[in-house]
């Protein structure tokens, strides 16, 4: 049962991922992206990582996508305003991205027979366990992240406010 679900979600994620790139209309692209995010959230649940799945849906499919749509509608990108790229650039991009794909596929293929590096708790993704790790072992990164958000917030306010002369 789970394996069929896995295949279905993977198919959905890859198909919608392709559609994001191939679709001409940016609003449709964003809508496909939302489906991709939901499919990936499904994968997280299959991996027993509920917290990650919920956060993924809230942050990516919720907040970031709204922002995306908002910006697209505000900028009125429906017309084709994108500058035309030369064939040479396209060719170079395809080659380098293709090489990266080969490397990644090779890297992931090798992991099938890899000995498990350490005992990994299968229930790690549950909120309770994650919270324990976050507030014990990873307390400092958790607190330091607040510094990052504070800096980002100050930056946004600075860029947004009008200079009083």
């Amino acid at each position: 049962m789970t394996i069929y679900l896995f295949y279905f979600l993977s198919f959905l994620a890859i198909l919608c991922g392709l559609m994001v790139v191939l679709e001409k209309n940016p609003v449709h692209s964003v809508l496909y992206l939302i489906i991709t995010f939901f499919a990936i959230a499904g994968h997280y649940i299959l991996l027993n990582a509920q917290f990650l799945a919920v956060v993924h849906v809230i942050v990516y499919a919720g907040a970031i996508m709204v922002l995306f749509l908002f910006v697209i509608m505000l900028l009125n990108l429906n017309k084709e305003t994108e500058p035309h790229k030369t064939n040479l650039v396209k060719f170079a991009a395809v080659i380098s991205a293709g090489l990266l794909l080969v490397v990644l596929v090779a890297a992931l293929r090798g992991t099938e027979s890899l000995p498990s590096p350490s005992t990994i708790n299968a229930d790690m993704g549950l909120v309770k366990n994650l919270g324990k790790v976050l507030f014990n072992q990873f307390l400092l990164p958790f607190e330091t992240a607040s510094l990052l958000f504070l800096a980002a917030m100050v930056g946004a306010v600075m860029l947004g406010k009008r200079d009083i002369k």
Partner: protein, 465 residues
């Protein structure tokens, strides 16, 4: 750790200054706070304390780099008083710079991949904003957007690399990864199972992400535009503090984690270093704008420092530290002069410096010392920086690369000397009125003294590590 607390507190105080109306006293407060930060790091000397499950380690390496960062920041705050001139966003600028400094500090003292990532982000996000802080200028906006997009892309590579290494080793902790990767039996088991590809691609991805941050050559395209577009003091910050922190992070990662797997990444860095030195220096020759020339010269200096990472012997840490210190001091000096000259010109070209020696000897002298130090002329600090790096690379047997580096330095001498000759020539002198504030004068004198002192007594720094 106290240093980090002090810097964070300074950032918050800078924000409160707006509310409680003590903006006028902010600069003295920040300067005193930075001195306190330096003092508190000196007190931690030789203690080697780990914090919070090995998230950060304050060994002597971290302390020395923190001191270099704080001293550079101290000089930077003094030189860029005008940058904080506009009343409405003065406190924001202070807060952002101080937070960026916190990020730089995390990057030199991390011992966990998560802290590395957070440090890079805390450093980068204020820099993206500050690059665009001149809101009326189109170039500044472009710089900010370009830096942000490219930076976010590079961070993606870095994160992907971290995940792959986590997948291969099962840990984020630098020590554990280092121990795992140094045991040949384990590598053998992996190779048998075909699992090393995961690890190797992880290392290469992290390499790409970090090479972007230090602007090594195939990943340098953002640097000239961003350096030129950003306000000059911000460029000075990027060329000194960001670069020093990125190199310290780079070296720490590769020495603790990947030194056992040299055959995987050393060839890559060899090519990167050679290309960076040659391309940076050759392109710098063709620049007319001084700011752009300094941008390319900072790219080429990243190439020299890559040599020390490649050498990976017990001299490389000391030589990177010394080079970073010498380079930062000289660059701060050069940018101070540039920012003073730029009051007269929108984009100062080499020609705008003609006849400066007659108009203002102090400026010309400071610029000359900075240029000579960057070019690596003895007995200034830059010469010994290059000398130590080249020796440590030669000891590890990189003769050809050192030859390329020497060739690059010779090209460098050409464009640095072009500046000096212009200043001392009897030009028409387009510079009309030069106003130097007392603080800037102090900075110029300090950079001159430091460049000479570090050159005469290089052992003082290099023997510390």
């Amino acid at each position: 750790m106290k240093t980090l607390y002090i810097l964070t507190a300074l950032g918050v105080i800078a924000m409160l200054a707006e509310l409680f109306r003590f903006k006028k006293f902010l600069l003295p407060i920040v300067l005193i706070g930075l001195m306190g930060a330096i003092a508190s790091s000196v007190r931690d000397w030789n203690t080697n304390i780990h914090y919070y499950n090995y998230m950060m380690t304050f060994d002597n390496y971290a302390i020395l780099f923190t001191i270099v960062l704080c001293v550079t920041a101290f000089l930077w705050f003094m030189m860029s008083k005008d940058f904080f001139g506009s009343e409405s966003s003065k406190t924001d600028h202070y807060a952002l710079v101080l937070f960026a400094l916190c990020g730089a500090m995390l990057m030199v003292s991390y011992s966990n991949m998560v802290m590395l990532f957070l440090g890079i982000e805390i450093l980068s996000i204020p820099m993206y904003v500050l690059a665009g802080s001149n809101k009326d200028s189109l170039a500044s906006n472009e710089a900010s957007l370009k830096y942000f997009l490219m930076g976010a892309f590079a961070t993606g590579f870095l994160l992907f690399g971290i995940t792959m290494i986590y997948g291969a080793t099962g840990t984020f902790d630098l020590r554990s990864i280092g121990i795992t990767l140094k045991s040949p039996e384990l590598i053998q088991v992996w190779r048998g199972a075909g699992g090393t590809t995961l690890l190797y691609s992880g290392i290469l991805m992290m390499l790409i992400g970090l090479c972007f941050k230090i602007s090594a050559v195939p990943f340098h395209f953002w640097a000239p535009d961003v350096y030129t577009g950003a306000p000059t003091p911000v460029t000075a910050f990027m060329a000194t503090i960001v670069k020093t922190a990125a190199f310290a992070a780079f070296l720490r990662l590769f020495i603790t984690c990947f030194s056992g797997l040299g055959n995987v990444w050393m060839n890559t860095i060899w090519v990167l270093a050679g290309l960076t030195i040659l391309l940076g220096n050759i392109t710098a020759v063709y620049q007319t704008s001084v700011k752009r020339m300094l941008a390319y010269s900072s790219i080429s200096h990243a190439g020299y420092m890559l040599l020390a990472i490649l050498a990976m012997n017990n001299h490389s840490v000391g030589s990177v530290l010394f080079y970073a210190a010498a380079y930062s001091v000289a660059t701060i000096g050069a940018f101070t002069v540039l920012s003073i000259i730029e009051k007269n010109f929108e984009l100062a070209s080499v020609d705008s410096f003609s006849g400066l020696a007659k108009k203002n000897p102090l400026l010309a002298f400071a610029m000359t010392i900075s240029m000579l130090s960057l070019a690596g002329i003895p007995p200034l600090a830059g010469f010994f920086g290059k000398y130590y790096i080249f020796t440590s690379a030669l000891q590890s047997g990189y003769v050809w690369l050192v030859l390329i580096a020497v060739l690059g330095s010779l090209i460098g001498v050409y464009y640095y000397f072009r500046m000096i000759i212009k200043m001392f020539s009897s030009g028409t002198g387009e510079v009309t009125n030069i106003e130097i504030s007392t603080l800037q004068k102090i900075v110029l004198v300090i950079t001159i003294l430091l460049s000479i002192l570090l050159g005469i007594f290089p052992d003082m720094v290099i023997s510390l590590l």
